[in-house]
Symmetry: C2
Subunit: 341 residues, 2 copies
């Protein structure tokens, strides 16, 4: 393995100068820098991340925390973030919570993570007070993706969940629906994770704005998964009269809803309309009407927001948070209620 001394020798300078030249510090003559870069390239030299980190430098790695990498939104965000980070020379450490509450806690509390990375991206990660303390203590730059997880001093990238839910529900109301059910995300971890609460609020706001009443019996819980959406729908099928439309807080739950409705012999949208949120790749296949959110764009922007601080931009130049737009995509899963046609 080539070490820094090899490069120093070949370039005819000290290791200190090699270190400075390679990291682009301003205190190196252009001529010297070129000589060093050339030597490093010739030897295929890459600084050891361990040695670098230990000596007070950087690891050139970023931690990305997601609830479940298998869900469409999260894998899409991660893929885009990885691309941007890799391009900038950073490796990505993936931490998949997978419903393991202990993991989240241990992860954010322990020094283990902090010693491995230069920054972190928390995607829809619920935080409790002690987590905030640990994060603040680490003084590490970071970014949050998805609403609900806002860390003081960190930029956040997200959509307006309330507005997205409101527009989905308003679409159903506009078609003439009056009995509109909601399949919500999980409330297992309330903490500071509010996506499911925000989408419920948007749903309720739209109902109220239209002079409709909110009916708790029509608000059932999925857990942001296909099977969870299916179970929630099975529950809804017990209502009498049935809802004429369902707003599922994410596309995956909508898929589960459609499957269960069809199994029950109900037609979508003739008997029951279904709308989701996301614009999952499969939504087009299933013909699901949905409120699209730019997932890859969120991953890309979040990664970029990290790059400034990683390159040493001062804390005095805070990166702006951003709220990306969503848009209603009409397909075949929604229609006016049966009686009205």
């Amino acid at each position: 393995m080539t070490r820094i001394d090899d490069v120093a020798r070949l370039a005819g300078v000290s290791t200190a100068t090699v270190s400075r030249a390679l990291r682009g510090l301003p205190t190196v003559t252009e001529a010297t820098r070129l000589r060093v870069l050339d030597a490093a390239a010739r030897l295929g030299y890459i600084a050891s991340p361990s040695a670098s980190r230990l000596a007070g430098g950087k690891t050139r790695a970023v931690a990305v925390v997601v609830p479940r990498i298998t869900r469409w939104f999260f894998s899409t965000v991660v893929e885009a973030a990885e691309d941007t980070l890799q391009e900038a020379g950073y490796s990505l450490l993936l931490y998949n919570l997978g419903g393991r509450e202990r993991t989240r806690h241990r992860l954010l509390q322990t020094a283990n993570l902090h010693q491995r990375v230069d920054a972190m991206m928390l995607i829809a990660t619920p935080l409790e007070p002690s987590d905030f303390a640990a994060i603040t203590a680490s003084a590490m730059p970071g970014v949050t993706v998805s609403s609900g997880t806002v860390v003081p001093g960190w930029p956040s990238v997200r959509i307006d969940d309330v507005a997205a839910a409101r527009s989905a529900t308003a679409h159903l109301i506009g078609l003439g629906h009056r009995r509109i059910a909601h399949i919500s995300g999980s409330s297992a971890d309330e903490l500071a994770f509010t996506t499911h609460l925000d989408r419920r609020r948007g749903y309720q706001e739209a109902l109220i704005a239209a002079g409709l009443t909110t009916d708790p019996a029509l608000d059932v819980e999925g857990d942001f998964t296909i099977s969870g959406g299916g179970r929630a729908t099975t529950e809804l099928l017990r209502r009498d009269p049935l809802p004429s439309a369902i707003f599922a807080a994410c596309d995956e739950m909508a898929f589960g809803a459609i499957a269960v409705l069809r199994q029950a012999g109900l037609r979508v949208p003739a008997d029951v309309s279904v709308i989701g949120v996301d614009d999952h790749d499969v939504a087009r296949v299933v013909g699901l009407t949905t409120v699209a959110q730019p997932a890859a764009e969120q991953g890309r922007l979040a990664a970029r927001a990290l790059l400034g601080p990683l390159r040493g931009a001062g804390r005095d130049e805070p990166v702006a948070s951003v709220i990306l737009p969503t848009r209603l995509i009409l397909r075949e899963s929604t229609a006016p209620p049966a009686g009205t046609r």
Copy 2:
């Protein structure tokens, strides 16, 4: 941050002993070990991965390379692998190739990766001769997942792709189909990546075994994605007569096929039967008949195969490779051809 000296002081031993005790080396008295463990726990001590690695120890991290984390199979394998590794105290570095050929090369060739991790898992990663050389030179333990990527000395975890494709095709033949199309995976990177070739072979073997001829015009290329499957199907719709059944080499391509068929006014399975491979979460929703493969199980087993070597099992105890079983799951997307009912 607590360092090893803090623990040593509290336990009343040298740092060398702390290091040995914490890593479970046999040369420490039980009494001493307990004292050290207790002190470390009280201080919440975790060895710095950088210092550890630099001093000749381990990073306690594993690199996982996937073509595209957004695809069902890969995210499922990664999630299961991450769970197993995390449980054993290892972090996961995710490298998403995303079709960037340069990335793969740079990744496997450079010392960068080798200095960051103790082992690597290559999932459906195409390898060329120089990659093998780099891997061998690194002397790093590893495991491959998915056929086609077999590295000498590393165990591999996979299914029998030829058999899976054969059983899917045989199912269609058994229903009475004679004109059976194949939507294959990408052949962009032939290299040592043979999944798409194996599935084609299984398809052809089944046809030949049934006395049918293989027709190149019915063998079109998707790229393992929903949209790729859709495009391939658009191409197939130009054939006259149309195929009465389609074997898509993965479920995602099958979804794309179904969407395009329906848009073209064709009914599935009344006009055209469709079968896939995977048993993607959405397959149930869409009613897709498919050959299921245990994705999470592959991730779990691959991670476990790494744990032995990571804990220092000698090279003399090679870990066995494993080929997991697949099984046909009948749903609603396949039926006898139109004329025969």
